[in-house]
Symmetry: C2
Subunit: 254 residues, 2 copies
Amino acid sequence: MSRTVDRALSILPLLAEGPADLGRVADRLGVHKSTALRLLRTLHEHGLVYRQSDQRYRLGARLFALAQEAMESLDVREIAHPHLVRLNETCGHTVHLAVHEDGEVLYIDKVDGRYPVRMYSRIGRPVAITVAAVAKLLLADLPEAERRAVAERLDYPMYTARSTPNAAAFLKELATVREQGWATDLGGHEESINCVAAPVRGADGRVVAAMSVSAPNVVVTADELLTLLPLVRRTADAISGEYSGRTPAKGTAE
Amino acid sequence: MSRTVDRALSILPLLAEGPADLGRVADRLGVHKSTALRLLRTLHEHGLVYRQSDQRYRLGARLFALAQEAMESLDVREIAHPHLVRLNETCGHTVHLAVHEDGEVLYIDKVDGRYPVRMYSRIGRPVAITVAAVAKLLLADLPEAERRAVAERLDYPMYTARSTPNAAAFLKELATVREQGWATDLGGHEESINCVAAPVRGADGRVVAAMSVSAPNVVVTADELLTLLPLVRRTADAISGEYSGRTPAKGTAE
DNA sequence: CAGGTGTGTTGCGTTCCTTGCAATGGTCAT
DNA sequence: ATGACCATTGCAAGGAACGCAACACACCTG
C-alpha cells in the first residue's frame, strides 16, 4: 500500500538469508543504490538492521527485543509453559505449542525430549502446515468458508509418502479432526516421527492454540504414542481451564 | 531519513507495549488516522503486525521468524552453544552469552543452572549495560573515544548499592577490565547475584562476544565463584579458537 | 426508533518527499 | 600510480504519501 515502506520491509526477509552489501540489496529490490541506502539507513536507525564491520548489513538487535516482547504478550504461552514442562517430564518426549495467525501456524514454545528428535522445528518457525498435527487442530477450528479458502491456497509438498497430498484430502482430514477433537501426524512430515496433539480452547470454546507430543518410531510405535492421548488431552484441557480463567493456576508465581 | 518508513517502523515498539487500536496508533504517531491505517496495512502485508479479533493490532508472526533467522545467522552463537552447555554441566550454574551492537548489549544465548537464579535475563533482551560483567567486557574493547562516548550517553540506575554510579566510575571499571581480560559483577544488578565473565575474541583479537557464569550468594560466595574464573576463561578461549577457525571443532556434526 | 458517539474506511487534490541520475570520495588491488 | 569497485552526496522532476472531509458501520442511550 505504501511503496516506500513496502520496499523497506522487503529488505528484512532478504537480509534474513544472510548479510548483504548495499549493491546486492539494491539489486534484489530492483531500485537504485541511493534508494536502498536511504532505506537501510532508516532501518538502521530503528535498530532493525545492523552494519557489521565489513560494511555489510545484517538483521539487527532490536528485532530480537521486539520478537521477545511480542512473545511475552502472548499469554497462552506463559500459562502453558509449566504444563508443557510437566508433560515432558512425565513422558520424556518433545512437546510443542503452536498458534495460528493469518494463514500461518507457528511454534511458540517447545520442550525438548530425552530422545533426540530430528525435527525441523524451532520456536518462531512456521509449521509444516499441511501435515503437522497442531496445524490440523488450529485450521479445523476455522469457519467452513475460511478453512476451505486456506486449504485451496496452500501447497501440498510430499515430505513423505504419507503427507497430505492435496486440498481435498486435507479438508477431509480437518473434518475428522474437528469431529474427534484431537489430531495426529503419523510420519507425514518425517518418515520416522509421529505426533499426537490436542487443542487449547479459550473461554468461548474457540481453539486458541494446540499442543503436541512427538516421538520417533524407534522409541515408541505409533500405537504406543496414542496411549498418551488421554494425558495430552488432559494437559491441554488444564491449560484451557487456566487460560479462560476457570482454574486459578497453582503455584506459578513468577 | 525516510519519513514514511520512519513512521511505519515507529509503530513496532509502540505495539510492543501491547495491542492498540487505530486511533491510538495515529495519536501516538502524531498523524492522521488514514495515514496510520495505510502504514498498518503495509506492515500487516509483511506479517509484522497482526490484527486480532477485536480489530486491535499486535506485533505479528513474521517478526518471530525474522528474529529466529537473524539469530541463526549469528555464527558465534552456533559455535559457542555446546561449550556453554558443557560448562553448565560442569559447574551447574547459569551461563550467558552476549554480544554488543550499536551501543546495546544483549544476551544471545543462555543455559539455565540447577539453582534457580532470579535473573531478569532473556535471550534477545538488552543487558543491564552499566553493571553486567559481559557488558563491561564488550564495551572495554571499544576504542577509547567510542568507549567514552557510550559511557557519557548511558544512564546509571542504582539497582543496588553496588551498582556503577556514574560514567567516571564506569570508565574506570572498563579500564580495569580491559587490563585484566575478564570481568565480574558482584551484586551490582541483583543484590544476591554474582557473575564472572570472559571474552570471546575473533581472529583479529577483537572481542566479538562475552560469556558469563552467574550464581546466587546462597549457593556459592563471590570468592568461591571466582575460583571458576580459570574454567570460564578456558571455555571462552576454546570458543575463540573455534570461531576464528584455529581449532577445527570436535564432534559438532549437525 | 431516532439520534448520537465512537469506531474504521475511502476518494481526492495538494504538497512534499522519494526517486534515480550523475558526480564525488574512499578503499583496496594490481 | 592507476584503475576498479563500492558507498555516499546533491539535485531536479515526478509521483506518492499526506491530511481532509465524507462515508459506513456498530453500539449505546434517551
